[in-house]
C-alpha cells in the first residue's frame, strides 16, 4: 500500500504535524493512507448487503403511502400467488416479539414500527414484508399487495401540527436554559436585531441504504448490518427476540456511511431479522432509496427565532434563541437547535427555548451535527445581521463577543484555540480585504462575489469503550475493539493509536473491529469514536507494555533487569532502558524467555467525571466562504471554502482533512441544496430520491482548504483527542448564507437558499 503523499497535498503543516506526539517508532500523527484502502478500491470490502449466505431469501418491505390512518386491506393472496414469493408477513401473522415496540428500548432506542398493528403513523412506515426467492419476485409481491387504507387528515405543518413545550431535546438535553436577565439585556441594548429562520427536513441518505442479512441457528443469530453501535444494538436485538445478548453476533466491518442514521435501532432492520427467524432461512432485506425517507430517521425541520441585543461597543447584551422542532406523533426527538447558542458567544443574558411540533412523520433523529448544524446555521446569520447593524466586520464582531469561558456557566474550556482558527482561517482566505458593504464585488466574468464567515463548534464527548491487545510470540500484535468505520477511518487511526501505545510499527499491528463479539468499542457517534475507542486501545497497549516490562525487568538475564517500570521506553518492538537506550530487548525475546506464547492486555476508557464537571469541552473552528452568483439568473456556486479547526490532538491529518472537507460539503448542501419536500395534503415526500433531493455533486465542490490548528488538551482525555467528524458542517452553512448576502444584499433566512429567493427581490 502506498503511503506517499502527492506533492500537492504536502502542505507545510502536514509535514510538521505535532512533532511532540510523534514518538520514536510511532505512526501516530502521521498522514498514513487508509489501511482498508486496498479493500475499498478493489471492491473487496464487504458491506452488509454484499453477503449472500446459502439458501438466502430476499425480503422487501411494503411501506405506507399515507401519513395517518390504518391499513384496511392487503391483497396477500395476489402477492403470494406471484411466482417466487414465499411468504407475506403482516400484523396478522408476524411472530411475537419479546419487547413491546411501542416502548422505547433503552438507552437510545426509539419506538419502532414492526407490524405491531394496522395503524399508520407516517408515510413509508412498514406495513408488510414480502419474502421471496428472488429480489424481483419480492419487489413485485409488494406491489401486488395494493394496500387500501382508512385515511385521516395528515398533520404536515405549523398550521395543523400539535405544538408543545419540549421538556428535553436531542438525546436528553434540557429544552430550556436561561442565564442572566434577558429582558434587561434587551432593554439595555443599543439595538436589537431579530429574525425568523427555518431549516427544512433533511435525510441522512448515506450512499449505502440500510440493509440487513440475518441468519439464525436455533436461538443464535448472525446479523450483517451497517451499525454505529454494535454492542448496544446486539443487546437490543436480543431483547426484541428474547435471547441472551451473547447469542447475537453483529458484523459490521464497513458502513457505507452512517451520519447518525445507523446508530439507532429502526423497524425495517428488525423486520429483516424477524423474517429470517419466522421463515427459518437466511434473509436479506435492503431498503430502497425511497424507503429511507421515513423509518430510519432524519434531521427534523425547525422554525427558529433569534433576538440579539448589542451595545454601542458591539458586545452582545442579550441572546434569545427559540426553536420549534418537528417531531413524530409518537416519539420525542426534537432537534436541539437553539442549544447552539449556549456554546459560542459571550452574553450577560442568554435564553434558549424549544418547542416540539407533532406531525405525521417518521421520528427524526440525530443527523451529522444534530442541533449544532441547524442552530448555528441560524445563529451565524443572526450574528452577521447584528454585525451589520453595528457597522462592524463580521469577524471583528465575533471577536468582540469571544467567549473566554463557557457562556452562562462561566466554566473554563478544557482548551479553546478558536482565536487561532479565526486568525489562520482569515489569513489563508484573505478576509482582510473584504468590503463591509454588500453587493460591491464582481469577478472578471461579471459574477457577483460575496464573502462570508461562520464559527464552527461541536462538543467532544468520550464514551465508555473497551479494547484488547495481544502481543504475539513473533513480536506482532493483535488489537481488537468492536468499533465501527463509517468512513472516518477507524481501521487506520485506531490502529495507529494502538501501534503507538505498543511501541510497534503500524505494519506489525493487526487490527480487528466491526464485530459485536469483540470488546465493546462503544458508539461511533458524536464525533467521539476515536477519542473513546482510541483511548481504550491505547490503554490496552499500555497494559501490554506494563506486563512486558514486568517480565523483562524481573528477568536477571535481561539487559533490562532491575530497570523498573519508569525506566523503560517501548519503541520499534523493543523495550529500552531509559537511562541507556542502547540496552534493549525485543518483545519476542522477552516473551520467549518467559515461555509465553502471547501476552494479553486490556484497556477501558471513559471521561474522567471530575474533568467533565470542571470543564466545558468543545472543538472549534472558523469557516470562510466565497460564493459567485450570476447577477441575473441568480444561480449560486460556492467558489472557495477555507476552514480552520482546532480539535485537540490529530492522529492522522490525512483522514482528518477528509472529515473536515466532508463536513464542509455538507455545509454547502445544507445552505444551498437539501430539502425534503412533502406534499402538504398527503405528507408524501415528493422528492424521496437522489435526483430531486439534491446533495452536492463533484461540480458543486470547489477546491477547499482545511487548516489543522494545533491544540493540546490533556483535560479531555489522556490522549487529548477531541472530535472532527461533525464540526465541519457547523459554521460552513452560515458562512455560505452570509456570503450570499454579501454578494447580493439579500438576507435569506430560510434554508436552502434557492434561486427564487434571490430573484424575487432584485
Amino acid at each position: 500500500m502506498s503511503e506517499q503523499m502527492s506533492p500537492e497535498r504536502m502542505s507545510p503543516e502536514t509535514q510538521t504535524t505535532f512533532p511532540r506526539h510523534v514518538r520514536h517508532g510511532s505512526n501516530s500523527g502521521q498522514p498514513v493512507s487508509r489501511r482498508d484502502g486496498r479493500l475499498k478500491v478493489t471492491g473487496a470490502a464487504t458491506y452488509a448487503a454484499d453477503n449472500h449466505p446459502e439458501g438466502l431469501l430476499h425480503a422487501v418491505i411494503a411501506t405506507s403511502t399515507i401519513a395517518r390512518g390504518r391499513v384496511r386491506s392487503l391483497d396477500v393472496e395476489a402477492a403470494k400467488a406471484h411466482p417466487g414469493v414465499v411468504e407475506v408477513i403482516t400484523p396478522a401473522n408476524r411472530m411475537p416479539l419479546h419487547h413491546d415496540p411501542n416502548e422505547k428500548m433503552p438507552p437510545f432506542g426509539f419506538r419502532v414500527e414492526v407490524l405491531q398493528d394496522d395503524t399508520v403513523r407516517y408515510v413509508n412506515q412498514p406495513i408488510a414484508v414480502v419474502v421471496a426467492e428472488t429480489l424481483e419476485a419480492a419487489t413485485e409481491g409488494v406491489r401486488l399487495l395494493a394496500p387500501r387504507y382508512e385515511e385521516e387528515d395528515a398533520r404536515t405543518g405549523l398550521d395543523n401540527g400539535l405544538r408543545h413545550e419540549a421538556q428535553s431535546v436531542g438525546v436528553g438535553a434540557p429544552g430550556t436554559v436561561s442565564f442572566g436577565d434577558l429582558d434587561a439585556g434587551l432593554k439595555g441594548a443599543a439595538r436589537v436585531t431579530e429574525g425568523d429562520y427555518s431549516t427544512p427536513p433533511q435525510y441522512h441518505n448515506a450512499m449505502e441504504p440500510h440493509a440487513v442479512v440475518a441468519e439464525w441457528d436455533g436461538d443464535t443469530v448472525t446479523i450483517d448490518m451497517p451499525n454505529q453501535a454494535l454492542r448496544m444494538s446486539a443487546a437490543s436485538y436480543a431483547a426484541y427476540f428474547g435471547i441472551p445478548a451473547e447469542n447475537v453476533l453483529i458484523r459490521s466491518p464497513f458502513l457505507g456511511g452512517g451520519f447518525g442514521s445507523k446508530a439507532i435501532l429502526n423497524g425495517p432492520q428488525i423486520l429483516g431479522i424477524l423474517a429470517a427467524r419466522q421463515l427459518g432461512r437466511p434473509v436479506k432485506l435492503v431498503l430502497t432509496r425511497a424507503q429511507m425517507y421515513g423509518p430510519v430517521g432524519h434531521r427534523g425541520r425547525t422554525w427558529q427565532k433569534l433576538r440579539l441585543g448589542t451595545g454601542d461597543d458591539g458586545k452582545l447584551t442579550a441572546l434569545h434563541h427559540h426553536s420549534i422542532g418537528a417531531t413524530s406523533s409518537f416519539d420525542d426527538f426534537v432537534e436541539p437547535a437553539a442549544n447552539a447558542s449556549l456554546m459560542l458567544y459571550e452574553s450577560p443574558a442568554i435564553r434558549v427555548e424549544h418547542e416540539g411540533l407533532r406531525l405525521d412523520i417518521g421520528t427524526p433523529g440525530p443527523m451529522r451535527a444534530p442541533g449544532e448544524a441547524s442552530g448555528s446555521a441560524s445563529l451565524e446569520i443572526a450574528m452577521d445581521e447584528a454585525a451589520e447593524a453595528c457597522g462592524m466586520d463580521p469577524l471583528a464582531f465575533r471577536l468582540a463577543n469571544y467567549a473566554e469561558t463557557q457562556p452562562g456557566t462561566g466554566k473554563p474550556f478544557s482548551s479553546k484555540a478558536l482565536r487561532e482558527c479565526y486568525e489562520q482561517g482569515a489569513a489563508a482566505f484573505g478576509w482582510a480585504g473584504r468590503p463591509l458593504e454588500a453587493g460591491t464585488m464582481r469577478d472578471e466574468n461579471g459574477f457577483l462575489v460575496g464573502w462570508g464567515m461562520g464559527t464552527a463548534v461541536f462538543p467532544c464527548p468520550q464514551f465508555p469503550a473497551e479494547a484488547r491487545a495481544t502481543l504475539r510470540a513473533d513480536g506482532t500484535a493483535l488489537v481488537e475493539t468492536g468499533g465501527a468505520d463509517m468512513g472516518q477511518g477507524a481501521w487506520t487511526a485506531l490502529a495507529q493509536l494502538a501501534a503507538e501505545s505498543l511501541g510497534l510499527d503500524l505494519d506489525k499491528v493487526e487490527f480487528h473491529s466491526g464485530r459485536s463479539d469483540l470488546p465493546d468499542g462503544g458508539v461511533a457517534g458524536g464525533s467521539g469514536h476515536t477519542a473513546s475507542a482510541g483511548q481504550a486501545l491505547s490503554n490496552a497497549g499500555g497494559d501490554v507494555i506494563a506486563r512486558l516490562t514486568e517480565l523483562a525487568t524481573g528477568d536477571p538475564d535481561s539487559p533490562l533487569f532491575g530497570a523498573g517500570n519508569i525506566g523503560v521506553v517501548a519503541a520499534e518492538g523493543r523495550l529500552h532502558r531509559r537511562d541507556d537506550e542502547t540496552r534493549s530487548q525485543s518483545y519476542a525475546d522477552i516473551l520467549a524467555r518467559a515461555g509465553q506464547k502471547e501476552l494479553v492486555g486490556t484497556g477501558k476508557s471513559g471521561r474522567d467525571p471530575a474533568s467533565a464537571e470542571a470543564f466545558a469541552m468543545h472543538s472549534h473552528g472558523a469557516v470562510f466562504a466565497e460564493v459567485k452568483i450570476d447577477p441575473n439568473l441568480m444561480q449560486v456556486r460556492v467558489s472557495r471554502l477555507v476552514g480552520a479547526f482546532a480539535a485537540g490532538r490529530i492522529i492522522n491529518p490525512k483522514l482528518v482533512r477528509s472529515q473536515y472537507y466532508g463536513g464542509m460539503i455538507w455545509g454547502i448542501s445544507f445552505a444551498l441544496q437539501e430539502e425534503a419536500v412533502a406534499d402538504r395534503r398527503t405528507g408524501r415526500i415528493m422528492n424521496a430520491d437522489l435526483a430531486e433531493y439534491h446533495v452536492p455533486v463533484n461540480a458543486d465542490v470547489p477546491r477547499m482548504e482545511a487548516i489543522l490548528v494545533p491544540e493540546e488538551d490533556p483535560r479531555v482525555s489522556p490522549l487529548g483527542i477531541k472530535g472532527v467528524g461533525e464540526i465541519g458542517v457547523t459554521g460552513t452553512v452560515g458562512a455560505i448564507a452570509n456570503a450570499v448576502w454579501h454578494a447580493t444584499g439579500i438576507r435569506v433566512r430560510n434554508y436552502p437558499i434557492r434561486i427564487e429567493d434571490l430573484l424575487r427581490r432584485r
Binding site: M1, S2, Q4, M5, E8, R9, S33, R34, D36, G37, R38, L39, K40, V41, T42, G43, A44, T46, Y47, A49, D50, H52, H58, T134, E136, E140, N205, A206, M207, E208, P209, F254, L255, G256, G257, V286, T288, R289, D485, M486, G487, Q488, L655, R657, S658, Y661, G662, G663, I665, W666, D689, L690, A691, V695, P696, V697, N698, A699, V701, R703
Partner: protein, 174 residues
C-alpha cells in the same frame, strides 16, 4: 420466460440462464454472479454507485436489463487490478484519500476509468469535476476524487507516449 445470455465479465465468459427478464445487470452481478463489488445506491440512475464498463463505456448498471446486455463485455471493480497490482486509478484513490466510507468508490473508480478513456477532460480540474458528477459521494470525498482522477489521467497520458516512461515496461518511470 427464460432467456439464455452470454456475457464476458472481467475477461471471463459467463453463460447465464436467466429465468426472469426483470433482472438488471446490477442485480445479476450482485445477487446471481457473486460479484457484489458493484454497489446499489439508488437503483434509479441517480447516484452512479453501480457504474460499470460495458464494451469499454461507463454506464449505470441499475438501469440496464441483463437480457439486453447479451454478448457484451463487462468490466467491474473486481476486474480492474491485475493480480496484486492495482490499476493506476485505484492506486491514486488510495493516495489522495478519495473515499471515506468506500461505498461510492467502486462506481467512482469505474467512472474515472471510463472518463480517462473518453479523453474529454484533459488536465482540467473543472472538466473532471463535471464529468465525475454522475457519481454522488455523500461522504464528500470529492476533492480527493478530483485529484486522483487528474493524477491517473496524467499517468495514462504519459503512458500513451511511452518516451516519457520506462521504455522496457511501458510503465511510468516514477
Amino acid at each position: 420466460m427464460s432467456l439464455s445470455i452470454s456475457l464476458a465479465i472481467n475477461g471471463r465468459q459467463h453463460d447465464v440462464a436467466l429465468n426472469d427478464p426483470r433482472v438488471t445487470l446490477l442485480d445479476l452481478l450482485r445477487e446471481r454472479l457473486d460479484l457484489p463489488g458493484t454497489k446499489k445506491g439508488c437503483d434509479r440512475g441517480q447516484c452512479g454507485a453501480c457504474t460499470v464498463l460495458v464494451d469499454g463505456r461507463r454506464i449505470n448498471s441499475c438501469l440496464a436489463l441483463a437480457a439486453s446486455m447479451d454478448g457484451a463485455e463487462i468490466t467491474t471493480i473486481e476486474g480492474l487490478a491485475e493480480g496484486d497490482e492495482l490499476h493506476p486509478v485505484q492506486a491514486a484513490f488510495i493516495e489522495h484519500d478519495a473515499f471515506q466510507c468506500g461505498y461510492c468508490t467502486p462506481g467512482q473508480i469505474m467512472s474515472a476509468v471510463g472518463l480517462i478513456k473518453e479523453g474529454m477532460a484533459g488536465d482540467d480540474p473543472e472538466r473532471v469535476r463535471e464529468l465525475m458528477s454522475g457519481n454522488i459521494c455523500r461522504c464528500g470525498a470529492y476533492q480527493g476524487i478530483t485529484e486522483a482522477v487528474l493524477e491517473a489521467g496524467r499517468k495514462a497520458a504519459e503512458n500513451a507516449q511511452p518516451q516519457t516512461g520506462n521504455p522496457d515496461t511501458g510503465k511510468d518511470a516514477a
